[in-house]
Amino acid sequence: MLKKRFKFKKDYSLFFIILFLSGLGLFMMLPLVFLVSTAFKPSEELFIYPPRFFVENPTLQNFKDLFLAMAGDQIPLSRYFFNSLLVSCITVFFTVLLGSLACYPLSKHKFPGKDQIFGLIIVSLMFAPEVVEIPRYLVVSYLGLMDTYSALILPSLAFPIGLFLMKQFMDQVPDEIFEAGRIDGASEWTMMWRLALPLIRPAWATVVILAFTAIWNDAGSSALFTQSEEMKTLPYYLSTVNGQGVARAGANAAATFILTVPTVLIFILFQRQVLSTMAHSGIKS
């Protein structure tokens, strides 16, 4: 359609746009290329002067060191990885489930207090967990959840952005579908499971990506809500080992590489559905 609209200068401007995007895209990729390159560098290449950007003799030594060195300590790396994976998967699952359940009444029902609740959710888009670490800590310890998986999962389930996006997505589903259901005598319960849930499914991909990225990279919960080393997650481990000098750079890069790959894969997998949800992300005040 662009071709039709601006035919006379389409070729030049399109060419420059692609050239510009490619150039900047390449520049944006440099830190990640560097990360991958470092992760596969043998140790002698880490210390060459002047430093070289690309790896010359790629090796898996860093990954081996990472796993072997950790196995020698009390806590093997696989434990952090397992904790991260478990906590992230459960959190993402329940974020999607609770959001799906909540977005249907919030979008299609006219119960008392609805506007106030949605208003609270809009305001909480401005909420940053970092700001209320202490009272969150107090709540978690008051509930007796310290040092459990629940402490790593439950606070992250209060994820207003996810519910907000699902509710906005639900808004564009015509009300007639539910009215027809009501006329056919379906209970609200049936309509929730048979109509609302399948209709909201396209929005899941977006919530999965946003929730997964947030929880997978979250080192804060682990630092705040757990004490024993075997409850810690991978990003927490990385936040403690970084900055120990070039000697560890290879192994740390390998660990960061392991941390980064899942989020990228999930994004590539779900990308197409994401844009259809984000289209309804607007806040109409």
């Binding site: 401005m126 107090l138 209970s187 609200e188 929730m192 289209a279």
Partner: protein
Amino acid sequence: MIAYRFKNLMKEVWRWRVSYLLLSPFFILFALFIIIPTVTSTALSFTYYNILQPPHWVGWQNFKTLLVDDEIFITSLMNTLYFALITGPVGYVLAFLFAWLIHQIPKRFRTFYTTIFYVPSLTSGVAMAVVWLVLFANDSYGYLNSFLIQAGVIDEPVQWLQNVKYIMPVVIIISLWMSLGTGFLAFLAGFETINTELYDAGKVDGIRSRFQELWYITIPAMKPQMLFGAILSVVGSFKVGEISKAVAGFPSPLYAGHTVVLHLQDYAVLRYEMGYAAAISVVLFILIYGIGKLCFAVFSSKGE
């Protein structure tokens, strides 16, 4: 009269009981981990509380100390504002610009470019420190220093992560690299949903270039997504701290990379002065909320 109205309200509530039931699991967690902590924080900010003894009321004392006597807080506030006033708007404009540019290219290439520009925001700021510490390393082994020396721009390695002048700019650059996030996706999606008939109508009305089209048609139609993006970008830029801690250390040289969130952590986690830390968080709330409200005023689509 009041009793009658209350009875009516209860009737309504009972009629929608399934709605409340469906909403309750989310809402309970929302109340436990967002509403209660926010309220508690506000209440604690007027007390002295060290966890061991019960909090006791001190009135406005914490706020007075914070704004009048705590020079390090003022430094951290200035650093945060410096960071937020650059990263917020610049990151926002970049996200919009790149989404717009990607929208201009044929559909089959869009996925590829979207992925390239979005991936940095998927990384963990803290974990990527392994890269930043080597790229910006203070000695000539650092990639940036080595590159600039070879290019003849500088003779001596620059202390990127030690020199007070450069710490914040480095944190800003890293954050901008990661700034094409959720807002960027919202913009991309927003562009795709604008009714193309608007553009045809615009051509009839004399719109000649892509830029006129952007200014007169696209931006007005995108206001709701732009508000969403703006809110996320405000929150994101005011909670800066972890990246600074990861690359410049804690505390950073002469507190040059000290931010409000780091000051908060200092008092909460290291000094156990919870009341004082709560006062810091209240100031941060008010800042974020005030600027967020400003965004609502600017991007409001009411009456259009």
